[in-house]
């Protein structure tokens, strides 16, 4: 008997995007550890005839499986590796600059002007010999949050087409990572450094996706062990996006209240840094919100001190062609490469 411990679960990720929806990748780039032992769920949509009439009772007599979905939610101690992975698939657009040839790269991530976000394949290994490749994985939402004396935590929610296949690729050992720590965060509000007043913060982003549309006529099929066909998605159209920033800061003056009352646009810049890449560059992530407004604030208390609980709204900015952008500096040469 060989029961499988959840701690031995292994995930393989790729920085390459699939060449097309429904075309799985065949090579895995890296393994990255996560905080939870969640595994892929494959929810089934079933219909039955419980509500039909004329059969003499109120119970169903048959059920049929129509379609299959694929979902996974993971949390990570935020490294620059996993952050780049999340940003590339969640935002879908990246411009890369070589800061130091061959070693330091700067990636500018923006919300992509596309209908279909880039998708990738994720490998899940419950035990040696029990591995699946889940194709068409798209990042539906992510959040970055931090509290004093903690790692920044990254969370993402994956949605696939519903298709998976048995696989036997060799998932590499854990990727070398540089973690981003909350005490290295710099928070600038209206170009003023207020980092020391920040108690905690959460930046979150959600892609609004039309989950039903993909089960259109002509969509691919997943074959059950008995050869029956279950529909899986052909595509996953993006219909919109939503971004949110919440932070808690020690109360010192009334500026936030005035900004909230008058909807004054302020520039917010949040920078988090990690280990050195070379003598002059560190792993670093910078979130820029050029036209942020305080959407709501409330006065609260935390350990005998008054704090402001703030929620930020994002206005469009023509200079960056979007409501926000994220710059990530690390040692990864490219994101969203197409398979060779």
């Amino acid at each position: 008997m060989a029961f499988q411990n959840t701690k031995e679960l292994k995930f393989g990720y790729s920085l390459k995007q699939q060449s097309a929806y429904s075309t799985a990748l065949t090579t895995v780039d890296a393994c990255h550890d996560c905080n939870n032992d969640n595994t892929f769920e494959f929810p089934l949509k079933k219909v039955d005839n419980a509500n039909t009439v004329g059969k003499g009772h109120r119970w169903p007599t048959k059920r049929r499986t129509i379609s299959q979905d694929a979902k996974l939610s993971q949390t990570f101690q935020c490294s620059s590796w996993i952050l780049g992975y999340i940003l590339s698939y969640a935002l879908g657009y990246v411009e890369t600059t070589e800061v130091v040839p061959g070693s330091v790269y700067e990636h500018l991530f923006k919300i992509a002007d596309v209908d279909q976000l880039p998708v990738t394949t994720i490998w899940q290994e419950l035990a040696p010999g029990n591995q699946i490749a889940v194709r068409d994985c798209c990042i539906q939402s992510f959040s970055l949050s931090g509290k004093t004396e903690e790692h920044i935590e990254a969370q993402h929610t994956i949605i696939g087409s519903g298709h998976y296949a048995s696989s036997a690729v060799s998932i590499p050992d854990l990727v070398t990572t540089s973690f981003l720590l909350f005490h290295n965060v710099q928070f600038k509000y209206n170009a003023v450094d207020i980092s020391a007043k920040i108690k905690d913060l959460t930046f979150s982003f959600q892609n609004q996706l039309n989950e039903k549309d993909g089960y259109c006529p002509g969509c691919p099929k997943f074959l059950t062990p008995n050869g029956k066909e279950v529909a899986v998605r052909k595509r996953l159209l993006k219909t919109g996006e939503q971004a949110d920033l919440k932070f808690k800061m020690l109360y010192e003056n009334n500026d936030i209240r005035t900004d909230d009352l008058e909807n004054i646009e302020r520039n917010i810049t949040i920078t988090a840094s990690g280990d050195p890449i070379d003598e002059t560059h560190n792993h670093e992530c910078k979130i820029e919100i050029p036209k942020a407004t305080i959407n709501s604030h409330s006065l609260g208390k935390e350990e005998n001190y008054f704090v402001y609980d703030c929620q930020v709204g994002f206005n469009w900015d023509n200079t960056i062609t979007g409501p926000f952008q994220v710059t990530l500096k690390n040692n990864i040469p490219e994101y969203l490469a197409l398979p060779s």
Partner: protein, 85 residues
């Protein structure tokens, strides 16, 4: 109908070496790249690049090659009626 491809490079002063989004990877490390017009429908790509040249795409001829008169081999017919008779 005429179709075009476009030779593009990052705007002057830009240090961008690579742009990637769904299904598109533009690698400028070796200089300008030629892309189909669909790539320039992306607002973000337009923001970053200059168009250097508009290149007409040759439309492939769909003419059937001329049929040569050949002598049918022994026992073979050059045409068949319906039903293979």
């Amino acid at each position: 109908m005429d179709d075009f491809k476009y030779k593009i490079e990052p705007k002057p002063g830009s240090k961008v070496k690579r742009i990637a989004t769904t299904g598109i990877v533009l690698d400028f490390k070796k200089g300008p790249v030629i892309v189909p017009k669909e790539v320039l429908k992306n607002k973000q790509v337009i923001d970053v690049v200059d168009i250097l040249e508009k290149i007409p795409v040759e439309v492939e001829s769909h003419k059937q090659p001329e049929e040569k008169e050949t002598t049918p081999g022994p026992g073979k017919s050059r045409s068949r009626k319906n039903g293979g008779e």
